[in-house]
């Protein structure tokens, strides 16, 4: 039976934990709104870009002479898994889910005898991946100093990845992030970014713009567009990830606050019972003492 004093100490400690989780929940809620707005604002660009890409690709014959970003290197031996996680913890299962998705893919590829490399964005996936696949991490991008993700941040990362691609470090790149569905639901998502997987053009939809003039020609435009597309996809993943992180943290902290409340109730009941018991014992002692006289 814990003493009254130690119970009281525990109650105070759980109360201050609850205060912290409550504050974190509120901060996450405020940040979520901003992140969600940023993610939504980024959608029109990505949508139009992929529409344009699809239109272009349907007009350019993809053969061995095409840029390797679209046709591939002709090889698929080395796979790069770009895993975007958060910079901070205490976001529920957010990072675990992304890393698990990446891990599943890695196991699948390894079973096929492929080589797997990791490129990490954010530091929270590092520990697990380092332990499971030691020495496979080629690079880690530190984003802890970035407050609001700007397109230039994504551009930098994409340049680095493209340089590695051109240097022949890998053949196929997959991107892992959490797609933001709502504050409660975030889906870990896998997307192939290199070579580009084009959305199939709906028949008839694209035929309307059959007589588009291109300046410079289609292939030159496509060549410019492909690296840009990688940056845009990365940017979008980062924005979605940021929104998902805040959503996940908000839910996790809400749960934590509720659990702390339950615990406080339980401890308070126990505290009161112990106090009552102590009083009763004391009374019994006094009365029996008086009777003995």
């Amino acid at each position: 039976m814990p003493s009254l004093k130690s119970l009281k100490v525990r109650i105070t400690s759980v109360k201050s934990t609850q205060k912290i989780t409550k504050a974190m929940k509120m901060v996450a809620a405020a940040k979520l709104r901003r992140a969600q707005m940023a993610a939504e604002a980024g959608r029109p660009y990505a949508e139009r870009l992929s529409a344009v890409m699809a239109g272009l690709a349907s007009r350019v014959a993809i053969g061995p002479g095409s840029p390797p970003l679209i046709a591939g290197t002709g090889n698929d031996q080395v796979h790069l898994l770009v895993v975007a996680t958060s910079e901070r913890g205490l976001a529920g299962a957010f990072n675990t889910n992304i890393v698990r998705a990446a891990r599943r893919k890695a196991e699948e590829l390894l079973a096929q005898g492929k080589t797997v490399k990791f490129y990490l964005i954010g530091k929270k996936g590092r520990a697990v991946i380092q332990r499971l696949y030691p020495g496979k991490i080629v690079h880690q991008v530190d984003q802890s100093h970035i407050k609001n993700i700007a397109f230039t941040d994504a551009l930098e990362v994409s340049r680095d990845i493209l340089a590695r691609f051109e240097a022949g470090e890998f053949d196929v790149a997959h991107l892992f992030y959490a797609r933001f569905r709502s504050a409660l639901v975030q889906e870990p998502t896998e997307q192939q970014i290199i070579p580009v997987k084009l959305p199939t053009v709906a028949e008839g939809g694209a035929a309307v713009s059959a007589t588009v003039e291109y300046e410079p020609d289609e292939e030159a435009i496509l060549g410019q567009l492909l690296p840009r597309n990688v940056a845009v996809q990365l940017f979008r993943a980062m924005l979605e990830n940021a929104a998902s992180e805040q959503g996940s943290r908000m839910t996790a902290m809400d749960n934590a606050t509720r659990n702390a409340g339950d615990m406080i109730n339980k401890l308070t009941i126990q505290y009161n019972r112990t106090r009552q018991a102590a009083i009763t014992t004391e009374l019994v002692e006094i009365i029996s003492g008086a009777e003995a006289l």
Partner: protein, 88 residues
């Protein structure tokens, strides 16, 4: 003549979506002006200023754009720019 529907999109947000008279776009192979009813066209743009005309002789805005491309289709002109800042 009907107005041209003009959209300027950056990865961060949809910057402009309005009906204008004409837009002059800095293409890699020279500037070009787009009026309503322009033939379908697509071009890469260079770093430079977009000029927006609300009437034949009235300039309503200049926007500095960097990297991207412009597409003209049946619905109007869409400029996808990596960066765009309102020029003075």
């Amino acid at each position: 003549m009907a107005d041209l529907h003009f959209e300027l999109v950056t990865p961060e947000k949809l910057l402009r979506s309005e009906d204008v008279h004409m837009v002059v776009v800095p293409g890699t192979e020279g500037d070009f002006a787009v009026l309503a009813g322009h033939a379908p066209f697509m071009s890469v743009i260079r770093n430079g200023d977009l000029t927006i005309y609300s009437g034949p002789n009235t300039v309503t805005g200049r926007i500095h754009v960097e990297g991207g491309f412009a597409e003209v289709n049946g619905k109007g002109l869409t400029v996808l720019a990596e960066q765009a800042t309102e020029a003075a």
